[in-house]
């Protein structure tokens, strides 16, 4: 591409000035290697966690310095692709499970299949590996092994006389109805249904539960049939009955956490990280009242449900220090580091789930994880995922906002899966 659009004149005039300036700024006489790493400021490990891990790495590797940048999840994909064109962008990037196809096709990430040692292959959970794979190649190391769990407020359930959290999605609505009727909270369930990827994650969980499919065997849209429609109908039904917080349509994960942590919801679907944050007195008013179970199933179709919301760390193809970058990635994803910081994100290592450092104090979460992590349902693997997702987000919103029935909205989306235009 670059050559196609290169303008020599532009290069002469603009480039000269910029390069001269850039050199004077960035040549700080550092003999050390500096890596730029891009992370997200949302869910999973907190910024403080990442800083602490990185500080440990720097202490263990004198001569390597890491510049950290945090962007909202919503900006992570575009920042990564835009920086790709920048050449001098990031060395290490955090990527979502849905991007390896696109990033591999566009050569954004380096193929690291050969760098992965047998110990890694053996030790990491198979579900985690799917996060970084595309066409049998691996484009990084899994780092955040995550799925959405059903969180509940134990105190509210107790007051409502509910003995156990729901096992099926239908039961969730029944329990929510009881809670609403007893006026314990106005809207018992809270979700992240903003027009964003977050809504797709909740939808995917439901699609898994209702036995639906995104694409059929030929790669054609299949979400407009069967379980795909049931899942969306369930979402609209919960809103219609006043059981789901209507503001969910504008919420991302952080909003869900805030509402749940302030005690204004009995149930919430959210990532791992909410468990310990909702139990943190500085962040929450419901400390010690947080229950967590796998997301429910549907009678006759599933016992429980889960979405693969994992993320990996990869080396960009523009990195000038791929070896140091890989060193950093292997450190960040190593078993000791992941076990040390296991409060907001659970380790990728199978052995960790027996380690007291991981399980102590969060037995309920680890128990739920053992079920959920085995069930993680993937979102479609396609290089044009962004477009498919945007189209689906619009369909979901059209149904939630009543401009269209769930079946019609999904049918429209399936017909125009090309991405809006």
């Amino acid at each position: 591409m670059s050559n196609t659009y290169r303008s020599r004149l532009m290069q002469a005039i603009v480039g000269g000035a910029i390069l001269a300036g850039a050199q004077s700024l960035s040549f700080g006489a550092l003999a050390d290697t500096t890596l730029n790493a891009l992370f997200m400021a949302q869910a999973a490990y907190s910024e403080d966690n990442v800083r602490a891990m990185t500080a440990d790495f720097e202490a263990a590797n004198p001569g390597v310095k890491i510049n950290l940048e945090f962007v909202p999840y919503e900006g992570l994909h575009d920042k990564t692709t835009l920086a790709q064109g920048a050449g001098s962008g990031y060395d290490v990037v955090l990527f979502d499970v849905i991007w390896p196809a696109e990033f591999a096709e566009n050569k954004v990430l380096v193929d690291v299949t050969d760098k992965i040692t047998p110990e890694m292959k053996e030790g990491v959970l198979p579900g985690a590996w799917t996060t970084v794979e595309y066409q049998n190649k691996r484009y990084g190391m899994p780092w955040i092994l995550d799925t959405k769990y059903l969180f509940y407020n134990t105190e509210i359930l107790e007051k409502a006389g509910i003995a156990a959290p729901p096992k099926t999605w239908a039961e969730l609505l029944e329990q929510a109805a009881i809670i609403k009727e007893k006026k314990l909270v106005e809207f018992p369930i809270v979700w992240s249904w903003a027009q964003a990827e977050a809504a797709i994650c909740d939808y995917t969980t439901l699609v898994a539960a209702f036995g639906g499919q995104f694409l059929d065997a030929d790669g054609k849209p299949a979400f407009q049939t069967g379980g795909g429609v049931d899942a969306l109908s369930y979402m609209t039904e919960s809103l219609d009955k006043g059981l789901s917080n209507p503001n969910s349509k504008e919420y991302l994960e952080e909003d869900v956490r805030r509402v749940f942590s302030s005690g204004e919801a009995a149930f919430a679907l959210n990532w791992t990280y909410m468990y310990n944050m909702a139990n943190d007195p500085k962040e929450s008013k419901i400390v010690g009242k947080v229950g967590v179970v796998p997301a429910p199933g549907v009678d006759g179709k599933s016992e429980a449900s889960a979405v693969n919301g994992s993320m990996g760390l990869g080396i960009t193809s523009t990195s000038k220090n791929p070896d140091e970058a890989w060193k950093y990635i292997t450190f960040m994803t190593s078993q000791p580091v992941q076990e040390k910081f296991a409060k907001l994100s659970l380790p990728i290592w199978a052995a960790s789930y027996a380690a007291p450092a991981v399980t102590t104090g969060q037995e309920a979460l680890v128990a739920a994880a053992k079920t959920s992590l085995g069930l993680m349902f993937p979102r479609p693997t396609t290089p044009t995922y962004q477009q498919l997702s945007t189209t689906l987000q619009q369909a979901i919103h059209a149904a939630l906002l009543k401009t269209s029935s769930p079946a019609d909205a999904l049918k429209t989306a399936a017909d125009s899966a090309g991405g809006g235009l």
Binding site: Y5, Q11, A17, M40, E47, V71, A83
Partner: protein, 282 residues
């Protein structure tokens, strides 16, 4: 106005003035209050409008210089904004001064070119951004405050030219002619005669240009990352990310607004000429 006012009219007038005042000040006041309130006060329903305790820790947090902290990132963004806006402004003036003088002294013959330039710079940036991105990418010049300053030049230069041209129109040609007869070269005339006379206008134009650059978001969003981010991009990222602490977002907003607000008050008298010339933001 000379006429006497009736009492009902006076009441009407003051009532409206108060409503207008509240409409303007209330959102800003709330921004400031959010920045100094405890998070618990802000997330209580019904809302407590006045904080129970004064909480200034966020101002400390944002001005902290600890490596990889929010404060360090904020200060870096502030520095980038200053750098980009400053460089773009100086470059814009350097380009605009000769151009404006030339158009002004051409007795209307070159006005057409100026109108053409004004028209061009009002085009939507989305129509230009892809090729600029390709070009900067090919040059390895993305993520650089220098590139961003050069891109901003295309916005600031026409605008400052326009502002300066109307000011140069007021510098009497006779003085310049007199200097010319004394044998002064063109650059000497400009430096010693015209520019000193137009000094206030230069300051105004420069400050306006600075404000435009300080405010720009679209190009900055696409062309900067990591350590070249400007303040608007930093704030948009902060507001979009994992910050349950609204006060911190508000604090960043307050700090980022201080320079333009101060400049705005300074510019008060010459504001209208700048506004008409397209010095609008947003």
């Amino acid at each position: 106005m000379m006429e006497r006012r009736s009492l009902p009219f006076s009441i009407f007038l003051y009532a409206n003035a108060i409503v207008l005042g509240i409409f303007i000040v209330a959102p800003l006041l709330w921004l400031v209050i959010m920045s100094i309130s405890d998070t618990n006060d802000l997330t209580t329903v019904p809302l407590r409008w006045l904080p129970q305790t004064l909480d200034l820790h966020r101002y400390g947090e944002l001005t902290s210089t600890v490596a990889n902290s929010v404060g360090a990132a904020f200060l870096q963004a502030m520095r980038n904004s200053l750098l980009v806006a400053g460089m773009a402004t100086i470059a814009a003036l350097a380009v605009a001064i000769p151009a404006a003088w030339s158009v002004s002294r051409a007795d209307g013959k070159l006005d057409v070119s100026l109108y053409g330039i004004i028209a061009t710079y009002m085009l939507p940036p989305v129509a230009l951004v892809v090729p600029i991105y390709f070009a900067l990418s090919a040059l390895g010049a993305l993520n650089s405050v220098f590139s961003l300053a050069i891109v901003y030049l295309s916005i600031l230069a026409p605008f400052t030219t326009w502002l300066l041209k109307s000011n140069f129109d007021h510098v009497p040609v006779e003085i310049e002619k007199a200097a010319m007869i004394d044998g002064a070269r063109l650059d000497q005339i400009l430096r010693r005669v015209t520019l000193p006379l137009a000094a206030p206008a230069l300051t105004t134009a420069g400050l306006f240009a600075f404000l435009l650059a300080w405010d720009e978001f679209f190009y900055a969003l696409l062309f900067t990352a990591k350590d070249s981010k400007t303040l608007p991009v930093f704030i948009a990222d902060l507001a979009g990310g994992r910050v349950a602490d609204y006060g911190l977002i508000a604090t960043a907003g307050v700090l980022a607004s201080l320079p333009p607000v101060l400049i705005g008050f300074f510019l008060q008298k010459s504001l209208v000429s700048g506004l008409t010339a397209g010095g609008v933001k947003g």
